[in-house]
């Protein structure tokens, strides 16, 4: 019974993330963090940051990656076996995709009428800059004591920010910061 409730809660949370996840990628992070860290506490904020790091080094959209990962860990952390965890992953991934499936099916039917529709244009006029604000809030929410433990964290942050603005490959930057972590934080 406990498991069914968890599956249901996971489904609703990720359906909501799919439905309100405008802007894709980083713009969806504050919403995901709010649902899975703040409201349901399925994972900690440090775990959440690790998922984002894993997402940045593996293929595929962040929304799918976090759905798959959180679906598995939320179930197995409660002591259920791997098989139930895999089912949790599948439920979350499906839930986050269903809103897109419904909306894209509708849009495909009305596509050319929607394109130049001024109501559509008007809705997007404020939404687009708002999405930039959501991405900024994703960065601000992760600038906390769990992820920034001392001055060394800020040095890594500064170096990676500068390198990323110079278009250095993000995967390379993550690998290098991992190596830097090994040297900066001796056992």
């Amino acid at each position: 019974m406990e498991l069914i409730d968890l599956y249901l809660a996971l489904f609703i949370a990720f359906f909501k993330i799919g439905l309100f996840g405008f802007g894709g990628g980083y713009a969806m992070l504050p919403l995901i963090q709010r649902e899975v860290v703040d409201l349901h506490q399925w994972i900690t904020v440090a775990d959440f940051t690790d998922i984002v790091a894993i997402s940045q080094t593996t293929p595929g959209p962040i929304a799918f990656n976090s759905a798959t990962y959180i679906g598995y860990t939320a179930v197995t952390e409660l002591g259920f076996s791997t098989g139930y965890g895999v089912l949790g992953s599948a439920i979350c991934t499906l839930a986050v995709s269903i809103p897109s499936l419904i909306l894209m099916t509708l849009v495909s039917a009305f596509f050319f009428r929607l394109k130049h529709n001024r109501w559509m244009q008007a809705s997007l006029s404020v939404l687009k800059p708002a999405i930039i604000g959501l991405i900024a809030s994703a960065a601000l929410m992760l600038m906390n004591g769990h992820n920034f433990i001392d001055y060394k964290s800020w040095i890594i942050f500064g170096v990676v920010l500068a390198a990323s603005l110079k278009k250095v490959d993000p995967i390379l930057l993550i690998v290098l910061s991992g190596v830097a972590g090994l040297f900066l934080y001796p056992a």
Binding site: G24, I54, L101, P129
Partner: protein, 187 residues
Amino acid sequence: MIMSIIRQYWELFLVFFKIGAFTFGGGYAMIPLIRNEVVGKKLWLDDDEFMDMLAIAQSIPGPIALNTALFVGNKRLGFKGSLFSGAGVILPSFIIILLVAVVFTQFKENAVIERVFKGIRPAVVALIAAPLLGLGKSAGVNIKNMWIPLVVALSVWLLKISPVYIILGALLLGVSHLVYLQQRLKK
């Protein structure tokens, strides 16, 4: 006859499986690869259709890669086609993240892994913050509407307002601005 129909579904699945498996960084990083496959190799869309589809995929909630896959699948073979292209783009990251989740949860408490992630966490935040300027420019953020991303970022970060309300508010504000302009035009 039947074989050729099955082959068309299989082809849709395969093309988007490839897109899902080889695009790191999600969303915007995937666009050149999708274009190369769908416009360049398969001729499923022409360039104009591709640009229009991209605009729609970005205006609808959900991961951009999924929305693109669903649109192309639907255009090729209807609703059933979108199920195949959608499954194709989801599966690679599902399999990879599931493996990561199963393995990573075993080693999470490992001291070496923890040191590596101490280095990676601040880097993740820098990678989210770095594209903000460029994205802001392409979303049409200027001096006049700069208050929108600022208010959004601060209210999600400090006031803990749910991104769901931000999205709904932004849509409402955009539409009521158009209504206001139309009323003023009438007078």
